[in-house]
């Protein structure tokens, strides 16, 4: 529970689901940014710092990588990277220098961001409130519970897949596929419509799956935290179960990305 004695249950939950937002335009209504040019500082900072730390560490380990006996760190990174690479090899049959690094990035980054969920919900926000002296400072520490992040990732994946399709198949073949599959050229508008739905549904489902899972998990943690001092018997099993969800969601996001890439690179 928050240190605030006067806080209501609804207020507590709402506070935990509010991003630390900065408005770049003058769209502030009742202290809440409503315009597009709003930045969620917490999401940007936490995801950025986590990414810099984990990928910096991986790059450092990789720069010292030896083909001889690997150090413990190198061994661990190789294990993760090897697992991802195996999935790519099994699913993606084209030739691309991008797909494996992309899959590694997604798996590792989503995993560490999801893993922030395992830190008890009040630890870091309270520490930050004490540090800044602002007891109402909202701060969400799980970036994947922000749809902006999941959409940013899925839309990036969508564009990469699009360009990969164009590059591998060539413009003519790509356009032919858009208008002539699956019903032939006579039904070109229908084919095109189908294609649009298919292409749009992918990034939406990809991002909402991750967002929904993490948001729901976070919500359960917040509800458990409402119990107060004796939350451990509930929080611990949920955290243990959540480890599965964290890993699974990172894996699913990575796996689907690989599948979309291979679909873009292969003819129907």
């Amino acid at each position: 529970m928050s240190a605030e004695g006067t806080l209501t249950t609804t207020g507590y939950i709402e506070h935990h689901l509010t991003n630390l937002a900065v408005c770049a335009d003058s769209s502030k209504v009742d202290g809440v940014c409503t315009g597009f040019w709003t930045f969620h500082l917490d999401t940007l900072l936490v995801s950025g710092i986590l990414g810099l730390v984990v990928f910096g560490l991986m790059a450092k380990l990789a720069s010292k990588a030896t083909s001889g006996i690997p150090s413990g760190g190198q061994n661990f990174v190789e294990m993760v990277v090897g697992l991802v690479d195996q999935q790519v090899r099994d699913t993606f049959h084209g030739k691309s220098a991008l797909v494996t690094p992309l899959a590694i990035t997604i798996f590792v980054w989503v995993f560490v961001m999801n893993a922030m969920d395992l830190i008890p919900v009040d630890f870091l926000p309270t520490a930050l409130q004490v540090a800044t002296g602002d007891s109402h400072l909202p701060f969400k520490f799980v970036p994947t519970t922000d749809p902006n992040l999941t959409f940013a990732m899925s839309i990036t994946v969508f564009f990469i897949a699009l360009f990969m399709g164009l590059k591998v198949k060539g413009f003519g073949h790509f356009m032919h596929e858009v208008f002539a599959v699956p019903f032939g050229l006579k039904l070109a508008p229908v084919n095109f419509l189908f294609r649009i739905v298919e292409e749009v549904a992918r990034p939406i489902s990809l991002s909402l799956r991750l967002f929904g899972n993490m948001y729901a998990g976070e919500m359960v943690f917040i509800l458990i935290a409402l119990i107060g001092l004796y939350q451990l018997p509930l929080a611990l099993p949920w955290a243990l179960f959540h480890i599965l969800i964290i890993t699974l969601q990172a894996f699913v996001f990575m796996m689907l990305t690989i599948v979309y890439m291979s679909m873009a690179a292969e003819s129907h």
């Binding site: 991003n19 969620h40 910096g56 991986m58 790059a59 190789e78 992309l102």
Partner: protein
């Protein structure tokens, strides 16, 4: 759920991390892993080769051992034969030598006997002459009978 400019920032982060992974994480690791695979394959092949060579060497060693054994057995047999031969030869030589010694001794003995006989003969003749002188002091002329005495000596 409000979509806003955070999306752009996140896309930039995502792109940056993909770039880091693509440039600094994946290539060195991929190279290290591929190199290690080659290293392990080579090592296994070398081990297999070493094992094979060891088997060959063991076979060669067994062959050499057997050969040496055969050779040494031959040598021993030869030496035994030679020793027997030497013993035989020695035996022969010894016999000849012994015969020679025995013959020498016999000849010496014969000579001694002959010499003793000679002496005895002379003594007997002298005794006979002395006896005859004593008996026949007057009539007998020593010089006249010397011829007869020499003939007598020859008969003895």
């Amino acid at each position: 759920m409000n979509i806003n400019a955070t999306l752009i920032g996140q896309a930039i982060w995502f792109g940056l991390f993909i770039w880091i992974t693509m440039k600094y994480v994946w290539p060195p690791l991929q190279k290290a892993m591929a190199d290690r695979q080659v290293l392990i394959a080579d090592g296994l092949a070398a081990a297999e080769r070493g094992k094979h060579e060891q088997e060959l060497a063991a076979k060669r060693a067994a062959d050499a051992l057997r050969e040496a054994k055969e050779k040494s057995a031959d040598l021993v047999a030869q030496a035994e034969k030679r020793a027997q031969q030497i013993v035989e030869e020695a035996k022969g030589t010894a016999k000849v030598e012994a015969d020679k010694v025995v013959a020498g001794a016999k000849a010496e003995i014969d000579q001694e006997v002959e010499r003793a006989k000679q002496v005895l003969r002379e003594r007997v003749a002298e005794l006979a002459v002395a006896g005859a002188e004593k008996i026949l002091r007057k009539e007998i002329n020593a010089s006249a009978h010397a011829e007869m005495l020499v003939a007598l000596k020859q008969d003895l």
